[in-house]
Symmetry: C2
Amino acid sequence: MSLTDSAAIDVARSASLASRQLAVLSNEARNEALTALHQALDQNRSTILAANARDLEAATRAAESGDLNHSVLKRLDLSRPGKYEDMLEGILSVRDLEDPVGKITLQTLLDEGLTLERVSCPIGVLLIIFEARPEVIANIAALAIKSGNAAILKGGKESMESFVAIANAVSDAIASSSVPVSSIQLVKTRDAVSSLLEQDSLIDLVIPRGSNELVRFVKENTKIPVLGHADGLCSAYIHSDAKLETAVKVIVDAKTDYPAACNALETLLVHEDVLDTIFPAVAKALIAKGVSLRCDEASKTVLGKTLSPDQIAKVQPATEADYNTEFLDLVLAVKVIPAANSAVETAIAHINAHSSKHTEVVLTESREVANMFMSGIDSAGVYWNASSRFADGMRYGFGTEVGISTNKIHSRGPVGLEGLTIYKYLIRGNGHVAGDYHDGPGGKKYIHSTMPL
Amino acid sequence: MSLTDSAAIDVARSASLASRQLAVLSNEARNEALTALHQALDQNRSTILAANARDLEAATRAAESGDLNHSVLKRLDLSRPGKYEDMLEGILSVRDLEDPVGKITLQTLLDEGLTLERVSCPIGVLLIIFEARPEVIANIAALAIKSGNAAILKGGKESMESFVAIANAVSDAIASSSVPVSSIQLVKTRDAVSSLLEQDSLIDLVIPRGSNELVRFVKENTKIPVLGHADGLCSAYIHSDAKLETAVKVIVDAKTDYPAACNALETLLVHEDVLDTIFPAVAKALIAKGVSLRCDEASKTVLGKTLSPDQIAKVQPATEADYNTEFLDLVLAVKVIPAANSAVETAIAHINAHSSKHTEVVLTESREVANMFMSGIDSAGVYWNASSRFADGMRYGFGTEVGISTNKIHSRGPVGLEGLTIYKYLIRGNGHVAGDYHDGPGGKKYIHSTMPL
């Protein structure tokens, strides 16, 4: 066992102990800690921004010498207008959300004097691994405390100075509250991740926030359940009866509103019957926004007849790999669905076989077709005549999100506070024993009546 | 890739395709398949019982030569009075449960004409691995079909003949219904388990039903989420104000009603103040039922003063390992909690550090102490003055269960049909795009109003 391993065990064990203390704190006590956290980050603004400026300076140098992607700079910069205020505001809005802990979701009278209750409770210890965005520390610390979970936070090296400055403010704020200090621990050692991922008996859930590579690395290197998504390969299907304006508007937004997002469109399926009508209009609108199309033979042929030479330069032949690719860029794969009664099934089968189970869209004027698509598609979000870009916790009205999950169990789609809780069953009796309930003479019978919540 | 691997991929892929067809079937269609399943098992009773008799004969020989535990014989025997009827009856009661699919659990008006809905849906493909009990095939097939999930079933070698006979009846019944044939697949090859556990892109959840060793093997050899429990190390704490009769009754039931069950008591914590009063009465009642006690120094000393020589023969000194042991036998570890204001916290800390997070019991007349215990304990079930033996899906009123989960996410405690479902988010719009919602001039605002369910 290396020193790092023993340090990781210490961190995880103290988080586990803190989580049990945190689990019994009232909503008021957790809220007070969030108020203190808000205050500390407000008061330490200049120190934190100075640290962030040092990170930014180092990152700018790295970007200039080609060692760092320029997009990281934007994500790193806490001094951009409104960003620090948003971070502060976010803490207060999490504080003011409904308490996710202690909600009774089932109550059954098992027998006279014997009640069963299912009540929501924190999961325990979260491990959050993130990359460049330093404000995530404040967001996640707030979400963890509000939901009664202890959190171990591990930041990326680009934001190390910001991270340490924010970490100090967070620790001071928590120390002044009744939330145990070890509830939020910030791990700075660079090689701690692998050791932490091994602590499956002490850490209950890992949430990686960052690149696909990070998420994949985490998923492949731990037995702890992972909440999140590696890919967001979203698709849209234009059915034969789609409305032209709706199709153009939704697809242009889904592809171009923010192409680097996980909820951006990556594959377009087009019913053969609208290849000559809706599809050219969609293609022209996309190309006007700078999108390149990767088309199968049939769709490419149609565009060859209708596009100008300038436009046709943006059309390339698709390979099979394009239908499995999350471009995260102004590129869209296009495939034609042959006209047949089973066209919707064909589209559904293509999507279920190729998608990452994030969000898919159907464009149709038929409720029946929409319902077939919505029940047949196996993804966290299935939308009818609306852009895939709505897949977001804020847009869903959850106030905040810890990420978007493409898992098949626990929590799917944008995950809010509810996804950071689980439940336990409480039974209250008066000396009741299971051996008294049997079919024989003198045996008691269960009542099993549902009690109002 | 071995032949087994390629066979496992075929099984998993066809299950995945079947799961998508099954997901769009109505409750009526799924129920009709269950009726057919019931009929087929009823009509093939003699064939199945003859096959079971052959299994039993082989197992009896193996048990006589010491190659098999005698307890397996009882679990294997389908001809025991009422067992076949219970199996048949179980299929119909699952059929008649409320449809777990298509339940709307959240509905939000995002904007005019733009609605968000959260609806329950099947998880997808389940892999169920079980050992001796052949009737589990019928139970699980029924649960899977009712919840719209495809299932791959892998039985143990002791029940192979019964398994094949039941499998044939199940397949014939399903073939006569609108449920796809590959929805329920029964894998007979002995070495298929490892290959199936590798199909994490096609199989969504594994449910091992059997020994601790089986569950541990599964948990250690797959990236697929595992629902279940390896250990059931349940504890009870007798507080200083407990009622003697309640303590005796609850602890005797918890320990002796069915010692081999996962919800049986394994550790008893006793408040120092009741060492001379309640504890000897509990110990005598347990010893009268044949229980051996593994006592720490303080509890052993007390019993030395109060028990008869015959009784004291059942008391041994405890080792630290005893507090981490699931005896599954008439053995109970005993530890004294020193008298102090923090005694409840001490008991909670011991349990959270040693338990398997299954079910724990507090014996006290104080609501305040009970509440502290119930919120402080991190287990799927926490009971006040009631036996741990109530931890069971039938007793909870769930009608049936697929197992008891000690996981910290998705589903905890006895898992019924609800634990075999997840949800997806549906958005219905009319050409709505995310880019229209912004703070700038002409930007639209979200309504985010909760709609009645």
